[in-house]
Amino acid sequence: MALTLDGLGYTYAPRTEFAQCALEGVSLSVEVGEMVLVLGATGSGKSTLLRAAAGLIEAQSGSAMLDGSQLTRSSARGVVGLVFQDAESQLFAETVMADVEFGPRNLGASAAHASESAREALLAVGLDPDRHGARSPFTLSGGEARRAAIAGVLAMRPRYLMLDEPTAGLDARGRASIRATVRDARAHAGVVVVSHSAEEFLGEAERVVVLSRGTVAYLGSATDLIADPTPFAAAGLIAPDVLRFQMLARQHGCDPGAFCLDPVQAARNVAAAGGWGS
């Protein structure tokens, strides 16, 4: 069971003077239970890739397969869930519960079934169906509203979950709760997270795709990218602070050994390599 994009190409407004190539030869695959992190600067094609993976746009070249058959808008329906950036701005119903039930109802679920799925989804994102469910979405805090929006997608029980910048603009508690939600979602789904900040999910993803101007600048394991973070700069991105410090230390002749994301471990390694403390 996998969602596989192979050699995808997409141009906005093709064959017009406004034609703009957003993706070229991009490949990506995600299996149920794993997390793929897509990194890239603004305008690198991240959101276009996510829309293609969710079947919202059809690539002009390459192939898109969903569990062995062609990925289309209708085959993706209910199977691939997409959480847009600023998803909470799309909450619309009078109560949180009604908002989360909307997805399954729209897919044809009975009222009872939709309500059950919605309760389950709210619990999965750490919201109490009884306490938060009856409230207006507009009275939720930023982090709660973002989680309610994710619940609205989870309630459709997608096998693949796509999230566009899920932690942007949230405070520490909000970000931690989203990370936990995304981690838990892997029990039933393959997860693709798009982000401009590597720090948030690099430690949790199995694989990473780095996009640069619509092409793949890196495709490989998160471990390999941590060991050699040079693709960040090559794609016009800033590597996480802790990795950048270790790279710079090595350049100055103070080799901390294998790079790591943990700041305390990195500090220990650099201190030892530089002969400090001891």
Binding site: A41, T42, G43, S141, G142, G143, A168, G169, L170, D171, A172, R173, G174, A176, H196, S197, E199, G236, L237, I238, P240, D241, V242, R244, F245, L248, A249, H252, G253, C254, L261, P263, V264, A266, A267, R268, V270, A271, A272, G274, W276, G277, S278
Partner: protein
Amino acid sequence: MLTFSDISFSYRDSPGADMALSDVDLAIAPGEEVAVLGANGSGKSTLARLANGILLPRTGAVAVDGIDTRDEQRIRELRGLVGIVFQHPDDQIVATSVEDDVAFGPENLGLERDDIRRRVDDAIAAVGLTGLERREPHLLSGGQKQRLAIAGALAMGPRYLVLDEPTSMLDPAGRRGVLAIIARLKGGGHGILHVTHDLADVATADRAVVLDAGRVAYSGTPEGLFSQSSLLESCGLELPPSVRLASALREFGVPVPRRHVIPETLVEALWP
């Protein structure tokens, strides 16, 4: 001075209503950067909106260079002294080119053409957007848009700038650019009230103030704050990896200078 004297504020009028801010005392001098931190809902954006009279305190007083924000006669003068920039750059852009957007405020003041031109050019230069005057704002990156919003505020000639989470929607490169502009404006004598939930943003502030449920939970140096992990946790804040790295290095005996949290400056200090 921009002063908040023992202010309280509630969005509802009824007695016993939830207070968004209680007993907050704070002063910002020209050339000084005060960072206001707090989790979502801590009252920090409310504080920003009290700075130039968008909101008025229930009790206590807010004053800008001696002008009380309740003084309706002088509200224009007061708004000219305090510029505000919000979190979402897209919400603050009104025109179809960078220069028209920056000119919008000064034009509304009814200034002479030459004066407007000079203000617009100076403001665009101050945020590093020179050369992009004719660019359509929607073609700018997030960081450039936020710098455009700052230029729009600067063109009004303020002495104080209130920045409400100016970096929270930006990628690391955009964030770095906005922080550099803030440092430069502070050096140029602007008083800065910098509202944020990211502790990495405040290492170079003169003072850090933490709000928790509308009350001041900490007021002091940023370094002092970085060492109070239980306070940070109870206020819903977290130390970013760069700050944890710098303090861990210090613990392991590496001579890391105070206030250095950016890897490049850390490395320059260690291997000059």
